[in-house]
């Protein structure tokens, strides 16, 4: 079966800074693929470059960037616009500012369907009301006539999700959709996303830095560090047998009930993600890694722990 989304050796640069350096990953139809890593490691940039929503001074290159087998790199701006919001949709981290303050919820939702499916206003409104109900908003008819500032953050993110679903997309990219929300609301939104993914058979690319979320919803996990995917594996295998020192470090930072002991402090990775240029060589994690030596300054081979599990480290498989 071909992948829904294929990214091979994606590179994104902003002037002298490389935000993404040869990242590869694939999302299969109907799977929840989690992209994890610290802030500034290139997760959001990867997602935005799939949607071609990068800011103007960003440069995007890739060996392959394909959606349902179609090469996105060769697509014109208008061709890309026909896909966005239609077959692939995206929701963002900032529900408070992601909706246009000047238009009603209904107007912003219906315009997606009217643009892509040439639906009538009436049909679009009905669809919008159905979806609002589907994402757990009561009195959808009333909400359609309201403006974003009249809704709470959680409600706005539900509206964003409903809006993304207007055209029945095959792929939904969610960029840290719960980070800006209250803890109780976070759980609700996450449960909603997982339920929708299962019911609608969506391919979901979920970007997060919260491994607790990953453990609950992901089919597969890719760990990003300094613009590279350093490890990728099915969820159970990654948690059971992490191979990259960075993944191991991340997992030590997560308190798992029953597994942590009182006398043992919770782990932490010292330092921060370094900013690297386009011609950086070797492992970007070596400054923070306990196992680093001279060989880490040279190109690192990709190892396979199993057919579905690969990682980027000089340490033997």
């Amino acid at each position: 079966m071909t992948a829904l989304l294929e990214i091979e050796k994606l590179e994104v640069t902003f002037g002298r800074t490389a935000a993404v350096r040869g990242a590869s990953l694939a999302v299969a139809p109907g799977e929840t693929h989690c992209l994890v890593g610290e802030s500034g490691c290139g997760k959001s940039v990867t997602a935005l470059s799939v949607m071609n929503l990068l800011v103007r001074n960003a440069r995007r290159r890739a060996e392959r960037l394909a959606f349902q087998g179609e090469d996105l790199l060769k697509l014109s701006d208008s061709g890309m616009a026909r896909l966005r919001g239609n077959a692939m949709a995206m929701i963002f981290q900032e529900p408070m500012t992601s909706l246009n303050p000047a238009y009603t919820v209904g107007s912003q939702m219906t315009e997606v369907l009217r643009r892509h499916k040439r639906a009538s206003q009436r049909a679009a409104t009905d669809r919008a009301a159905d979806l609002l109900a589907r994402v757990g908003i009561t009195a959808p008819g009333m909400r359609l006539g309201q403006f974003p500032h009249q809704l709470s953050g959680g409600l706005r993110q539900r509206v964003m999700i409903a809006m993304a679903l207007m055209c029945d997309p095959q792929l939904l990219i969610a960029d840290e959709p719960t980070t800006a929300l209250d803890v109780t609301v976070q759980a609700q939104i996450l449960r909603l996303l997982a339920g929708l993914q299962r019911d609608l058979g969506l391919g979901l690319l979920l970007i997060t830095h919260d491994l607790g979320i990953v453990a609950r919803v992901a089919t597969r996990v890719s760990v990003m560090y300094a613009g590279e995917v350093v490890e990728s594996a099915p969820t159970a295998e990654l948690f059971a047998n992490p191979r990259h020192p960075y993944t191991q470090g991340l997992l030590r930072c997560v308190p798992v009930p029953g597994k942590i002991r009182r006398d043992q402090p919770l782990g932490a990775i010292p330092g921060t993600v370094p900013r690297v240029g386009p011609d950086f060589e070797g492992c970007a994690f070596r400054e923070r890694c306990d196992f680093a030596d001279e060989t880490c300054k040279h190109a690192i081979p990709r190892h396979h722990a199993s057919t579905a599990h690969d990682f980027l480290c000089r340490l033997p498989a």
Binding site: S98, N100, P101, E111, F147
Partner: protein, 305 residues
């Protein structure tokens, strides 16, 4: 929202009252009005007659409260020179000034909105810089001089447009353009800044993520938000234009309110002068309130507040 407007209304009334006082004080600055009205060859008897006829022999405070009381009820007094009601005079001349001001505003918006939008979309390109240079040049242009130049070029050399008067709609083109020039730099800069800010916002990223057309992103989603400050400034600029039209009316011999005021100043016709100052100030205050109202229409966040 209602409370906000009641507050604004009270401030507006206070402003009007202050302007009334200032206008009264201003016209009495020269000392004895009766002497200047009666003219240089008047005898003492003439001056006394004038003083009595216009009520200038009363104490200043009485004159002041008389003017405030009547003006509040819409009675602006009688012109010394035209021997007619001031409100009638202003009413007759106002259409010319309003037509001129609105023409200027429309031209200014038609020029500055597209320029500002295009400059924002092409930020930091040669076009953007060109627009900024044009705004800078417009800011430095003396309006009366521009008017004269246009008259020489389009009136005399090319013969396309009438040089003066108000016979046809073409008469308003040149003065309208000159008046618009004063507002174009500010409106263009504001449109550009607003569009740049809007285009960098999260909701525009959402609009792009929804796959909307470029036209819809720019004109529906970005411009609607960028327009909010522009509308407010446009209303204020219209107020400035009406006040500043006195120069343009003089250059193009348009017999509007500004021209009336100029004639009246030259003839020491102080009831007209103080009335025009008051009317223009009230119009300005009204326009700023209109701007607040339009903002509330454009920005739903203000409506509930």
């Amino acid at each position: 929202m209602l409370r906000f407007f009641i507050r604004r209304l009270i401030v507006a009334l206070l402003v009007a009252a202050t302007v009334m006082t200032l206008a009264f004080v201003m016209t009495r600055l020269s000392g004895d009005l009766a002497i200047s009205i009666a003219g240089p060859n008047a005898t003492q008897a003439d001056i006394d007659a004038v003083r009595k006829a216009y009520g200038l022999d009363r104490p200043l405070l009485t004159q002041f409260f008389d003017w405030v009381g009547r003006a509040s009820l819409g009675d602006l007094g009688e012109s010394f020179f035209f021997k007619r009601r001031v409100s009638e005079l202003i009413g007759e001349r106002m259409p010319v000034t309003l037509t001129l001001g609105l023409t200027g505003l429309v031209i200014a918006l038609v020029v500055s909105l597209p320029l500002g939008i295009l400059a924002a979309v092409r930020e930091n390109t040669a076009f953007d810089r060109l627009v900024q240079v044009v705004a800078l040049l417009g800011q430095a242009m003396p309006s009366f001089w521009l008017g004269l130049l246009l008259m020489i070029i389009f009136g005399l050399q090319l013969g396309w447009l009438p040089i003066s008067g108000t016979e046809s709609w073409q008469s308003y083109i040149m003065p309208g353009v000159v008046l618009a020039f004063s507002a174009i730099p500010a409106l263009t800069r504001l449109t550009r800044a607003g569009m740049i800010q809007a285009m960098a916002s999260d909701y525009i990223r959402t609009a792009r993520a929804k796959g909307l057309s470029r036209a819809s992103i720019l004109l529906k989603h970005a411009l609607r938000n960028a327009a909010i400050p522009v509308v407010a400034i446009a209303a204020v600029q219209l107020g400035f234009m009406l006040g500043g039209s006195i120069v343009i009316e003089q250059v193009f011999a348009l017999h509007g309110v500004g021209f009336l005021a100029w004639e009246s100043i030259a003839k020491n016709d102080f009831p007209v002068v103080q009335a025009v100052v008051l009317v223009l100030a009230v119009i300005y205050v009204g326009l700023t309130m209109l701007a607040d109202l339009l903002n509330a229409v454009l920005d739903p966040r203000l409506r509930g507040a």
